[in-house]
Symmetry: C2
């Protein structure tokens, strides 16, 4: 049972003290050039691998950030994760990941784990049914800064990176109204979500701006299940005066809605037009894509959230940091090839 080489082991071989080795390995200027070289040489020979658990323990710093996402298999979050991992790894930080599956209790357990793990910071996109935010107090006590991302709880004094839906939706509404649509529907999401409220509000403003009346029957709510998406679309098409354009809560809703519309004999981008949120890369390959997507740049959002987090981590007195709100402007991507 041969043990792993430690700093002490290197010290013994070179007849110097452990502190000298420690300093030499960090290229501390106070250590002589010769000694430093000799230490590095032996370290290489012995294949010394520093023990991060000891370092983390001593330094009270793990070089790890915790990331909590609702669902890793959703393209949007996978892209965000990618951006976060990129940014963190460039800063030599590790990413500890947890998926809540939109379950508040699971989410709580994940955060609990990350607290005991003493991650240096957290990035969280909260689950749909999270109502208890007591964990924020603990995080404060532990000096673990947290940045929310995309799914933002309605709380004061929090850091977040998110998308400003306004520009994208307004562009889409302007466009739709501009080409003559007057019956524009909205398949919205769960009312508990902030972004649902936002969509509704901006949608209403868009109609107003275009001098159109709000028709309550054109606003429906899906719980985001496939079944619910389908039935929403069905309801809309069965109206006495059905919509000619539909804005859907996200791409997954759009997929289902488009499917339903086709099944009900509608010609996509002819009889009826769709606008969706998120812009899955895959749309480019589809035959009946939405006429426009409202791009929310998940990768960029992830990067930005990480940047905010690292800015806080780099501060000398993070506790004095003011909350940072980063709003990335959404943007309409048109697929109208007239």
């Amino acid at each position: 049972m041969n043990k792993l080489p430690t700093i002490k082991e290197i010290a013994k071989r070179l007849h110097v003290s452990a502190s000298t080795v420690s300093r030499a390995l960090h290229n501390h200027p106070s250590i002589g050039w010769v000694t430093t070289m000799r230490v590095h040489k032996i370290a290489l020979e012995l294949n010394y691998i520093p023990n991060q658990t000891a370092i983390s323990f001593k330094q009270k710093k793990t070089f790890t950030i915790g990331l909590v996402l609702p669902r890793l298999s959703e393209a949007f979050f996978a892209a965000a994760l990618s951006g976060i991992e990129d940014y963190a790894s460039a800063r030599n930080y590790n990413v500890l990941i947890g998926q809540s599956l939109d379950n508040a209790e699971r989410e709580y357990r994940i955060i609990e784990g990350m607290k005991t793990h003493r991650v240096d910071g957290m990035i969280v996109s909260v689950s749909q049914d999270t109502e208890n935010f007591e964990f924020l107090d603990d995080l404060k006590r532990l000096h673990i800064p947290i940045v929310f991302f995309d799914r933002i709880p309605n709380l004061p004094h929090i850091n977040y990176a998110a998308c400003n839906l306004e520009p994208g939706i307004m562009q889409a509404m302007d466009y739709l109204i501009g080409v003559g649509h007057s019956r524009i529907a909205l398949i919205n999401g769960p009312v508990a979500l902030l972004s649902t409220t936002q969509r509704l509000e901006i949608y209403s403003n868009g109609l107003k701006k275009g001098s159109l009346e709000i028709a309550p029957e054109l606003i429906v709510y899906s719980d985001l299940s496939a079944q619910s998406n389908h039935s929403c679309m069905k309801v809309l098409l069965n109206l006495p005066s059905p919509p000619t354009a539909v804005i859907t809560f996200n791409d997954y809703v759009a997929l289902d809605a488009i499917e339903t519309a086709k099944a009900m004999g509608q010609l996509i981008n002819k009889d009826i037009f769709f606008v969706s949120f998120a812009n899955m890369p895959i749309w480019n390959y589809m035959d009946y894509p939405p006429v426009a997507s409202i791009e929310q740049f998940p990768y960029k959002q992830g990067e930005k959230a990480t940047e905010i987090l690292f800015n806080i981590l780099d501060m000398e007195f993070p506790e004095t940091a003011l909350p940072v709100h980063y709003l990335l402007d959404s943007k309409m991507i048109s697929r109208n090839n007239n």
Copy 2:
């Protein structure tokens, strides 16, 4: 600057020793019922949060597994990650993640980091150009078991979970030949990948089994870039006797190939048929999906890899563990609705 409560702090308050508190918190049977209760009560009052960095250091165990994937934004790997995270979190393990972006050097650095981090085990899907596997020696020295997954290096004595492509491809070949195709092309991947060789071999066997000749001009190789995918398909369609069916390396290749075929005036699932690997959920929404997909069950593969890893972690003498090879049978999913 009020410090966080530690075991010592609890001990002081109760006028007992730190050892007693530690044991009580773990509900050790040797500690009296009353003491145990009192400790738990105070711990709750003080909101004691155990310091995992200290525990990891002391126990030489981090309750963390390292996961290295080529690309988090690929649906296949995102699904696998989801399976791995599920399994690990159910066992109260954390997942540390790194994406190599199919870059051997990046991958090396990630693994380096996970070594110093002293993860308890690793799951790796190697990058395309990884040739140096010296890190395996270090991992052995560190007693960090490693399980390879999906992308398996050609080395002896390794644990892995992967998909056996044979059943899926054979089913697809049988099907295609059965309905009368005799010009079946293969758009294969980079020759460096084991799975490329496998696809070629099984494809050949399939032809032989169906008493068809191997036509070398029907076998082309893509570097998996969109451009390369497109040009592969173009080459095939420009043959004097073009294929009527094409098996593509994966879904992304299929997307491009189908696009090219359409652009060149081919009617999908009429003039020409496609078979692809992986079965992205999105195909169900597409108008011209491949007639069949060879499903590789990424979530399940991820779960299985994790299961293998935990079996090793649970062993008393893991160093004596024989390599475990888990091959999940691929399966053809038909979209033929005749």
